[in-house]
Structure formats: C-alpha cells, structure tokens
C-alpha cells in the first residue's frame, strides 16, 4: 500500500481538477451500477421469501398441510411456491386429519381451509374469482385477510372480498349466486397474497374446494420439524412449515430430488457471459477517458521515469485514477440505485398481482455490483496505464505527441480470435439440438468482440491512410483518431460492441419473426371476417335461443356496415351443459385424417350446399361442390381423394370419465377431399354435410358462425366489432395474414434506442475527449484563420469517424452470433409451413445503425460542440 499512496493522492487531486473528465467516467460506470442495483433491490423486495411469505400462507398457524390424495410426495422447503411433486397418487387412500395428528401429535388443532375458483353472474357478464373457504374468525386464520370495511363472515352465506372484486363491479352488501347458493358480501379488505385478481373468502361450507381429492388444513401443533414434514410427505401431505421456513434445512432442490437436469450450469454460464459482455462494454466506454488522463500525465510520468521512477510506479498513477473513480462511481451508483428502487416500488407494485414484501436490500448482490463497478474502472485504466509506463520518455519530454505504431502481431491475434469465434458459433449452431448450442454461440460472441477490439487499431490506421482525399476536417479527424489510438480504439470498440449486439439480436429477432410469418396459419380466407358467438351461461341458467341471438348479430352487422356480406355458417350443434360436452364427429374408418389445423372459428362439422358458403376456393371448391351436389358428406383431409364410407357419431364427454359415450352411430357415403393447407390455410371444417343429407339423417343444425365478405378495412371492421360485441359472447375476427405482434416491434424499437444511446455515449465520450486533447491543434487552426464553426466541423467529423468505423465493424461482427443463433431459434418446430431454419437479416435496421446513426450522432455532436476556438497560449 505504501507504494500506492502517492499514486492515489495524485489520482484524487487529478479527478478533482479535471471535473469534466471525471464526471464522464463516473457516469459511464455509475449508470450501469445504478440500473443493476435498482433492479436487484426491486427483485428482492418483490420476492416474498421464506418467513416473509409464511404469514401470508399460514396466517397464525404453525403449518399448512395439503393433500391431493395419498401417495409419496417430494417437496422443497417452501411448497407454497410450487416446490412439490406427487410421485404417485392413490385417490382411494387420502391423507386424513387423523393421519396428520398421528404425526404432529394428538392435540394438534386442524382448521380446514379450501381454495378454488368460482364464477358469478353480474348483469349480463360472468365474473371469475378465486375462493378461500376458511373460518376467518379462527385465531389461526389471522393474517390471511385484513378487513378494511364491513365485518368478517359470521352467519352462513356471508363472504368478504378484496378490492379487485369491487373493481369488477360488485359492492359491499351485494348478493351473488355461486354454485347454487346465495352469498352476501359483508366485508371488504386486503387479501394477504393476491392484489390484482378478485378473491372471495368465506366459510368452507359456502366456498368448498371443487376438487374431491384435495383437502387442506391450517395446523397449530407447535413447531413442525423437517423430519415431520418428511413423514407427512410419505403419507401424501404437502407441508408448509413455519419452523422449516425460518430455519431451512439443507435440502437439495426439487429438480435434484427428482433427478432432473436442473440446467443450472448452463444458466450460470449464460449469466456469466452476460456479465462479461456488460463488463467489456463498460470498460470500453470508460477507456478513452483514462487514455486521455494518461496522456495528460505523460509529461509527469516521463519526468518520473527520467528521475529514476520504475514503470510500475508510472502505471500506478493511472491505475490509481481507475481505483479512485471506480470507488466513487460504484458508491454513487449504489446509493442512487437503492434510492431509485425505493422510489420505484409503488410504481412497480402497480404492475404486479402479488403484494410485495417490505423494502429489502440484497447486500451480497449489491456488494458484487459495486465490485463490478470498481473492477470495470480499473480494467478501463489497465491498457492506458500499461502504455503510459512504456512511453517513449525522450519523445514525450521533447513535446512530441501521438501513440506508437501498432504492433503487427496484435491484429493477427484479433483475426485469429475472430476465426475462432466464427468456428465456435458454427459449431454451436450445428450442435444446437444437443443442448449447449446457445452457450457456444454466446461464448463465441465474446471471443469475436474481443478479436474485433484487437483489429480496431489497424482499421483506424487504415482509415487514416486513405483519408487523403477527404475534406480538411474529416482528414484531420481520421488522422488524429489514428494518432491517438489509445483514446480512439476503446471508443470505436465500444460502438462496435454495441452495434454487434444490436445486429445479432436484430437478426435473431427478424429470423424468429420470419419463422412466425412462414408458419402462420390463416384462420379464414385473407381479408374476410368471422363472427363467432358462445353463450356465457352458469350452471342452472337457461341458454339464450341461438337463432334469436344470430338474428341480432346479423342486424348489428348490417346496420354497422350495410355493404358487407353476411353469410351464416351452419353446423352441427355442439353443446356444453352441466352433464358434459356433446359433439358430432365424422370419421372415416382406417383413414388417418391428417388434417393438422382447423379454423378456430366455426363448427367442426359444417352444413353447407356449396363451397362458396364456407369460402372455399379454386380446384378444391369444384370437387367439394360436385360431392355436395351428389348429396355426399365431404371429409377434408391432408392428402387423400376418393369415395369412402364414413361413420357419423354423436359423442358425449363427461367429467371424470375418460371414454366418451357414443349416443348414435350411422354410416354415410363420403367423398374424401385433400385440403392444401399451404395454399388455403386452416380448413374451414373437418367435414361438410349437405342440408338435405343432414335432414335425412335427422341432425340438429344450428348457426355456428358467420362469414363476412367485402371490403373490411380497419374503420369498417372496428365499426362491426363494436356493434357485434354489444351482443354478449359475440366477437369478430378478421383475417389479415400474419401480423407482427406489437411486442416484436417494441423489441426492435428498444434495441434500436438502446443501440442509439450506447452509440451516442461512446461517440460523445471519444469526441469530447478528442476535442479537449486537440486544444493545441484547434488553437493553431484558429490562428491561421479557421472560422469558429471549424471546431464544430472537427467534432462532427470525429464523431463520424468513430461512429461509422465502429458501426461497420460491429455490424460485420454481429453477423457471426446473429446468424448462428437464428438456427437453433428457428428450427425443429413442426407444424404448418416449411420447417426452417429461417434466416432473415433486418437490412433496414442495419442500414439505420450503420449509416443513419453515425450521421445523426455526428449532427448532434456538431450542433452541441462549442464553436469558440481556443487561443494559442505561449509558454513564457
């Protein structure tokens, strides 16, 4: 430490003296520290772990025991977070209260608690909510619900609800019909866990668990040990124990207990890669500032060397500023991050369905983040420090400026690394099926970026060499950039690394989208619409008359858009009632129907007398029409044409029964027609029966959906949509082909914006450091008559050189992981359309990044740079 004292002192004073440059480094390092530490604090706060969550699930109980039937259970420490699995289920021998007492002691008190889902009607809507049936008056249930208004359920049929239930339209004092009984809302308050979704709490008798096999108790039996938990597990109990949460035993994770591959190693490797990438970016962004600091110290260091100082002592002066600025930046970033997280908690809570825990600081993570900050500053100072310790003392003392020539071996190493990167990513792409492909590709990205950093000096020198014909300011900028490589290279590399990342992600995203587009299955002929309707009916309620509803829908469509064609599509009735689901199927015995996709809207068996009714076109339409004219049932299938016999059967699926009950079977002559999914999209129905044949067969025909034809532009379809949705349960779908989801566009925009910001950051740093470095040159320019705007032009040219060279290099390097990752991302996905892999290069994005962004940053720099030229100061 003794050897470091003067170096740190110099660094500290220097940081104070050159506030602008120090601020630059502080921003570069403290911003990522701020962002990551704020995220860490928010995640820690949002996570309700261990004892913190115990009160929410347990209330005042010592444990909560649940069973889904007998049989061995494997569980983790906190099964309320889903850490459990039932290895075998024995529904006939469920865990009973007596079994629980046998383990936890005969005097254990068990309070039943039941959770489930229910629905209730509110006007013409049906509202879903979750239910908790428990005696809220019992001391063990204390903490599960925090009453704010009204009173807790006392009499049978009384329930309390949370605010989300009120937001659905219910009010204190309202009655609702749930599962055949009438419940009255007598209180409103806060559910311990759920915030956003409606919850109703009441007596277990009023809100029973739907599932027959499931039982659950809150238990008061003193601390429940891990051994007792294991014992209950053996009998089929899933146990959340307060004592276990408070002092977790050393248990292997669920996946490990189950013998699965946890994927933890791969995850850790990917996290490590992300951290390394972030470190590289931060180091590159902060690097130029240290390069300039090193040059400012060049004379001092030369004097130190001249008076016998060792290279190590020279290095320490520059490394010292890395240490000082890194510590300050990490500290500032950390404090700001914690404050930002604290300010953001309410906003983030609004987007989250569960209540957050108390504000919490993950000290270990924060420490790691701070270390990251300090480390990045020191790393950013390493190269300038090393170069400064090797500087040409004579040249510096004689006042000559500029870096040494680049070593010939450096770019060779860089090219080799780029080659290794390409090889590794190719290997990763080709072996992506076997698991570690993504890891290879991500690793190759880092190798490629590092290789690129080593190539940058040669490229920058090359640009300077060919700059002879450029206008004065551009020529000056290119040559000056090449002369001061320690300053230029990290900036160019930072821009390039950013661009490489954006291009790689852009290619991955575009290829993914291309796959989505190519494998898109249209649900109706392009440009046509489908109106569908399904009644929202609760058990015991009378379903509305379909014919009457469809008349209303047709009237609504006609009044909203008279010019649009409305074609009802008839089908066989498919009904859902409390007993089960009844549908009619047409099957060709011994014939695999091979039809991958059916339209989502409309009946599975359609009744029609022409192909046009269903919007079937082309050659297929002729064959369908011919068959329907002959009174044949048309069976659409993947590949086979020809006459067969088909079996028409009505089947009812009942809950809890695996095999459907066939209530009728008849054999009918049928025509198989091959359906070309690639040409026409999803089939309109699996089979089509002519009206007369349906009548002969005595089938119940109903309207299943309606086809809308004509000009369905955005305005028209919005009008129709509004009219149709006024009918309860009705909706409109218009086929517009593949629509890029908003998220994909948002991702691209975010990528572009992030790339832009980082690029601007890198370019601005390099440019303004270059300008401060170029003070003497600018003074000379002024003296020989440069107009004030020359400084701006120099600044803009400098930004252009840094931005453009970085963008071109980065885009080229970004192709390596981008193309590679698109392969595992877009292959091995069966279904409609070609198999892939798909590759799509977002040329527009790349053009914007490579051409437009550098020009934009140059313009920004040009406009923001001061135009006043400095005066020549003479040393006298």
């Amino acid at each position: 430490m003794r050897g470091w004292r003067p170096a740190l002192l110099i660094a500290w004073r220097d940081a104070l003296r050159h506030r602008g440059r120090s601020a630059l480094v502080l921003v570069m390092i403290s911003l990522p520290v701020l962002a990551v530490s704020a995220a860490a604090v928010l995640i820690q706060t949002a996570e309700v772990s261990g004892t913190e969550g115990a009160d929410r699930t347990l209330g005042a109980a010592d444990a909560r025991v649940r069973t889904e039937g007998g049989g061995q259970v494997v569980q983790g420490v906190d099964p309320s977070r889903g850490e459990y699995a039932q290895l075998e289920v024995d529904p006939d021998d469920p865990l009973t209260a007596a079994d629980v007492r046998a383990v936890l002691g005969a005097d254990a008190r068990l309070v039943p608690i039941a959770t489930g889902w229910q629905r209730a009607r509110l006007g013409d809507r049906v509202v879903d909510f979750s239910t908790t049936g428990v005696d809220l008056g019992d001391p063990l249930a204390e903490g599960l619900f925090d009453l704010e208004r009204g009173h807790l359920p006392g009499a049978p049929g009384e329930v309390v609800v949370n605010d989300a239930m009120l937001a659905k339209g219910f009010a204190l004092g309202d009655e609702m019909q749930v599962g055949g009984s009438t419940l009255t809302i007598v209180g409103v308050g806060r559910d311990a866990t759920v915030r956003k979704y409606p919850v109703v709490l009441g007596a277990p008798a009023d809100l029973p668990d739907e599932s027959v096999d499931r039982r659950e108790w809150l238990v008061a039996a003193g601390p429940v040990s891990w051994a007792q938990v294991r014992e209950l597990n053996a009998a089929g109990g899933i146990v959340t124990s307060r004592a276990v949460l408070a002092d977790p035993p050393d248990v292997a994770s669920m996946a490990e207990q189950m013998g699965y591959d946890t994927g933890r190693n791969e995850m850790a490797a990917i996290v490590a890669l992300v951290i390394v990438m972030a470190l590289i970016e931060v180091v590159l962004l902060a690097g130029p500032a240290f390069a300039v600091a090193a040059r400012r110290h060049a004379r001092t260091l030369a004097l130190i060397a001249a008076s016998g100082g060792t290279p190590a002592q020279a290095r320490r002066v520059i490394l010292g500023s890395g240490v000082v600025l890194g510590l300050v930046a990490a500290g500032l970033g950390l404090v700001a991050g914690v404050v930002a997280a604290w300010l953001l908690v309410p906003a983030v809570q609004r987007f989250n369905g569960e209540w957050f825990g108390p504000f919490e600081l993950p000290w270990l993570y924060l420490l790691a983040i701070a270390v990251f900050g300090v480390l990045s500053a020191i790393l950013a100072a390493v190269v300038p420090a090393w170069l400064a310790s090797r500087q040409d003392v004579v040249a510096v003392l004689a006042g000559r400026r500029g870096d040494r020539r680049p070593r010939a071996s450096t770019p060779v190493v860089g090219v080799v690394m780029l080659g290794v990167g390409i090889a590794a990513s190719s290997y990763g792409a080709l072996t992506s099926d076997s698991g570690n492909g993504a890891l290879w590709i991500a690793g190759s990205a880092i190798v490629s970026v590092l290789g690129m950093v080593l190539v940058v000096p040669v490229v920058v020198s090359g640009v300077a060499r060919v700059s002879g014909r450029l206008p004065l300011t551009a020529r000056y900028a290119a040559r000056d950039a090449a002369r001061h490589r320690t300053r230029t290279v990290p900036a160019v590399a930072a821009v390039a690394a950013t661009v490489a990342g954006v291009v790689a992600l852009g290619i991955a995203n575009a290829s993914d989208e291309r796959q989505n587009e190519m494998t898109y299955m249209p649900n109706a002929p392009m440009g046509t619409g489908v109106v569908s309707w399904g009644p929202g009916v609760l058990p015991g309620e009378q379903a509305p008359d379909p014919d009457e509803v469809w008349d209303r829908i047709e009237a609504a469509v006609r009044s909203a858009a008279p010019e649009v064609g409305f074609q009802p599509i008839r089908g066989l009735e498919e009904s859902y009632d409390p007993e089960g689901w009844t549908s009619t199927n047409v099957e060709v015995p011994g014939q695999d129907q091979e039809l991958c996709c059916l339209r989502t809207y409309g009946p599975s068996v359609a009744i029609a007398d022409s192909a046009a009714e269903l919007g079937i076109e082309g050659d297929t339409a002729r064959r369908v029409d011919a068959a329907l004219d002959d009174g044949l049932v048309v069976v659409l299938n993947g590949s086979v044409d020809g006459r067969r016999d088909a079996v028409l059967s009505q089947q009812t699926y009942r809950e809890g029964v695996d095999e459907p009950a066939a209530s009728s079977r008849q054999t009918v002559p049928a025509e198989l027609v091959a359906w070309d999914q690639r040409a026409y999209g999803a089939a309109p129905a699996s089979s089509i029966i002519p009206t007369a044949t349906a009548a002969q067969l005595d089938l119940d025909v109903v309207v299943g959906s309606a086809r809308l034809t004509g000009d369905l532009d955005a305005a028209t379809s919005t009008r129709i949509k509004e009219a149709v949705e006024a009918v309860d349960g009705a909706s409109l779908y218009v086929e517009r082909g593949y629509q890029r989801p908003d998220e994909a566009v948002v991702i691209l925009l975010v990528l572009g914006a992030l790339g832009g910001v980082l690029m601007l950051g890198g370019t601005l740093t390099a440019t303004f450091l270059a300008l401060s470095d170029a003070r003497p040159d600018l003074a000379t320019l002024s003296a020989v008559g440069a107009a004030p705007r020359t400084r701006r032009r120099v600044a803009a040219s400098y930004a252009l050189v840094v931005g453009f060279v970085g963008a071109v290099l980065g885009a080229a390097v970004g192709f390596i992981p981008g193309v590679a990752i698109s392969r595992p991302l877009t292959s091995g996905y069966g279904g409609f359309g070609p198999d892939g892999p798909f590759l799509d290069v977002p040329w527009l994005l790349i053009a914007v990044i490579v051409l437009a962004l550098p020009l934009l940053t140059a313009a920004v720099v040009g406009m923001t740079a001061r135009s006043r030229l400095p005066l020549v100061a003479r040393l006298d």
Binding site: L472, D777, L781, A783, V784, G785, A787, V872, R874, L875
Partner: protein
C-alpha cells in the same frame, strides 16, 4: 504609404479589480509594407499581447486595430477569422504545426479553410514550401522533421497565398543559432518582397535584421528607433 497593420492607442486589461493587469497601455504602432519591425522587451512587457491584438486573435479593451484599412472592431468572429486566413500569417515559437497533417497540408491549411479546392491549395502550398526551400519534404508529417524544417513549414504557412502581414512570435526561440539565422533570412526576404513583418524577440542580435525596433516595458512603448542601436535599449533589461 498606408500601414498594413495599425494599432491606435490600444490598451488591453486582463482581469479586473485586485487581479487587474494592464498588458498594454495606450500603445500606438504601425507596420508598413516591406518593413520588418522587431518588438522587444522584458517578460510581461506586453509583446505577445501586441501580437495577438495585431492578428485579431484578441480584442483591445480600448483603442482600435486596423489591418489593411479595416477596423477589426467592425468585424465579427467569422470576419476576423477570414482576415487571418487571407491577410495575416502567424509564426510561433513552438511552430504549432498540426501533427495529424503533412507539411503540405499544414501549409495549405489557411487556403483550404478559405474554401480553396484541395488541388489549388496544395499547389499554392508547394510554391510556398519551395520559397522556404523544403519542397521535397511536402509529404512528411511534422514529427518526421527537424525543428528548423518545422519552422520553415510554419513560415510557409504564414506566407501562403498573398498575405501581407506576418506576425512572428519568437520564431527562432526553439532553434539553434544557425537554423535561427536562416529563418530570419527567410522572414527578411519575405518583407523585402513587399510584406509587413512584426517579430517578437528578446535577442538583440535578431533585432538587427529588423528595419525598426519597438521597445515595450510594462505595456508602454518606451522607445521606437531604427535598428542601429538595439543594445543600448536593452541595457535596462540586462541590468536586472
């Protein structure tokens, strides 16, 4: 004959209040075509201030500066910059060449800044380099040249085009005696060809090349004579 540069009762005050420094106090000064004027004086006497004011790099607190009949106060920043490109050439003690540009490009700088096409500017630059005798070094970078060569490039830059005022600030300060003499000979030749030269120097021997010596002390012209007896004027300084 009209003076190329004319400082009329010029004062320059730096700072204010307790830190106020009077660099020049009501100095009147002229340089005519064909004339090389040496400005001498002890450190802090205002020599360099006089030069920066004459070149329009700085503006006087009171008084006015005229170059070729134009009052610099009537020009904006851009106008003064144009004046420096077209009428004034600077030569500095530290050469102040731009290391990122070759000799020819450094010399062509004022012309290029003036909007001259690259080729034309380069041709003019080569002519100027030829005049100072180093046309063969046109494509070298400053750090590939000796001090004397660099100063020749600086002089070439100061004379490129038809500029009629050369301001030289200790042009030989960083050079050995022989090289210094050559540089002075160049300056003298340029003035003989019709330019006006103003050279700040503290070496009496260099003042001998001048037609006239202006002696400054504490911002005031204490004497203005022919070049015959500069040593006598320096007696005061030598005694310090």
């Amino acid at each position: 004959m009209n003076a190329v540069v004319h400082l009329a009762a010029v004062s320059r005050v730096h700072g204010e209040g307790a830190t106020e420094v009077h660099a020049l106090r009501s100095v009147t000064f002229r340089a005519h075509p064909g004339e090389l004027v040496a400005v001498m004086g002890p450190s802090g006497s205002g020599k360099s201030t006089l030069l920066t004011l004459a070149g329009g790099l700085d503006a006087p607190t009171t008084g006015s500066v005229w170059i070729e009949g134009t009052d610099l106060a009537s020009l904006d920043n851009a106008g003064r910059a144009r004046m420096r490109r077209t009428s004034v050439g600077y030569v500095f003690q530290d050469f102040n060449l731009i290391p990122a540009l070759t000799a020819a490009e450094n010399v062509a700088l004022p012309r290029e800044l003036d909007g001259e096409k690259g080729k034309v500017a380069r041709r003019l630059a080569l002519t100027a380099l030829e005049e100072v005798g180093i046309a063969d070094l046109a494509d070298r970078f400053p750090d590939e040249m000796s001090g004397g060569q660099q100063q020749r490039v600086a002089i070439a830059r100061a004379i490129v085009g038809e500029r009629r005022l050369i301001l030289a600030d200790e042009p030989t300060g960083a050079l050995d005696t022989d090289t210094g003499e050559e540089i002075l000979r160049l300056l003298r030749a340029r003035c003989d060809a019709g330019a006006a030269g103003v050279m700040v120097t503290h070496e009496a021997r260099h003042a001998a090349w001048a037609d006239r010596v202006v002696f400054l002390r504490d911002g005031v012209v204490v004497d203005e004579t022919g070049a015959d007896e500069p040593e006598a004027l320096l007696a005061g300084e030598a005694g310090r």
